[in-house]
Structure formats: C-alpha cells, structure tokens
Amino acid sequence: MSITAWLLVAVLGALGSLARFQLDGLVQTRAGGVFPFGTLAVNIVGSFSLGLLTGLSVTGAELFVLGTGLLGSFTTFSTWMLEAERLAEEGEGRLAFANVAVSLGAGLVAALAGWLVGGAL
C-alpha cells in the first residue's frame, strides 16, 4: 500500500471514530434507556456499508482505505462487548443477551443485504 493509502487510513480512522461518537450519541439520546441503541446503529450502518463495498467488488487500495480505514474504525466490537458486559453486571442479563444476539443477527443481515445490493448495482 502506498503512503497515501496509509495516510488516508489514519485520517479516516480519526473521522470514523468521530462519526461513531456523534451517531452513537444522537441515537442513544433519542432512544433513551439502557439498551445501547447507539452502538447498534453504528454497527448496522457500518456492516451494510462494508457489505455494499464487497458487493461492488471494491478491492485493493480502495477497499483498504474505505473498508479497513473508515468502516473498520467507524464500527466497534469493544464498545459492543463492554456495553453487554456492563448490562450483565447490573443485573440486566436479558438485555445483555438481547444486545449480543440482536447486534450479531442484524449485523449479518445488514452485511448480506449490502453485499446483495452492491452486487445488483
């Protein structure tokens, strides 16, 4: 990968993280409550988008920059797990399980949907 590609990954790492923070906050404030809808929204959008790139047969440097750089930074596994773990700690076992199951299920569906849509375009 070229220096440009790495620089773009760095920049998009920053922007993706900032965008995640913003969307998470926006959605979570609207939704209210303890269920982490914010992280769920971020991860669904990111998974659909990465599926879309895959379906569009984006490869090489473009995929590295947009997929790994932007979407990889935009979505998060750690926050998802932390939020589930904290829910479990606080006695909200069912919500914790729902968080894990719904995120995984919806994530796969979104990724697949993106892949199919991209492939059809």
Partner: protein, 133 residues
C-alpha cells in the same frame, strides 16, 4: 490564545486515538493477509485485545482515577473503538460461509463473542482489584 474548549479537547482526543487504533489494525491486517478460508487472526486478535484494553481502561478511569476530559475519549472511544471492528467481523463470517467454511464461521463468531465478553469482564475485575494499577 484561549484554552481549548472541552468539546475541542474531546474531539482531538477521539481523533488521536482513532488514528492509532486504525493504523494498528490496518497494519496487522496487511502483515497477516487473510485468505478467506482460514481463521481470521488479524481481526480476532485486535478485537479480543481491544476489548480487554477497553474493559481495563474504562474501569480504571471511571472507578479508580479522578475524572478526566481526554483520557477516556482517547483510549476508549478513540483507540479501542478504532482498533476493534464489528463490520469486518460480519463480512468475514459471511465470507467463511460463502467459502463453505460453516463450522469455522460458527466457531469464529462464538469464540469472538466469548473471548470478548469474558475478556472484558476479567479485565474489569482485575482493574478493580489491582492495588498498584
């Protein structure tokens, strides 16, 4: 020059952490290119390590140290958030199934979840118990 606002500090902290997390993940990915058939080690490693770190950082920052405007956004939202990835995990699961590696897809998904969840819990517990850290 006026002192940077809390909002600006927050944004810079997230951005800085995001740069580091993204580069670390991207570097590992390029160093150990996944072939689409075998265990996706780069993503698995960053996700497990990143979740361990997040559990440790968040617990330490929220429960053990005085409040800070930049440490959590830098280390948590920024670094761990960008180091780990959900989207890549989803696509890898789909691609494994696509390549007839259904059993591996199932185990990759379940092991990622188990390691992530358990790791976070363990890191948090250790952070609470540690006398020096």
């Amino acid at each position: 020059m006026p002192y940077p606002s809390a909002r600006l500090q927050l944004s810079l902290a997230i951005a800085a952490g995001g740069v580091l997390g993204a580069l670390a993940r991207a570097g590992l990915e390029r160093a150990f290119l996944w072939d689409g058939h075998s265990w996706p080690w780069p993503t698995f490693c960053v996700n497990v390590v990143g979740t361990l770190l997040l559990g440790f950082f968040v617990t330490r920052l929220q429960e053990r140290l005085p409040p800070s405007t930049f440490r959590r956004p830098l280390l948590g939202t920024g670094f761990c958030g960008a180091l780990t990835t959900f989207s890549t995990l989803q696509l890898e699961l789909l691609q494994l199934v696509h390549h007839d590696r259904v059993a591996m897809a199932l185990s990759y998904g379940l092991v990622s979840l188990a390691a992530g969840f358990a790791g976070c819990h363990l890191a948090s517990a250790l952070s609470r118990r540690a006398r020096v850290l």
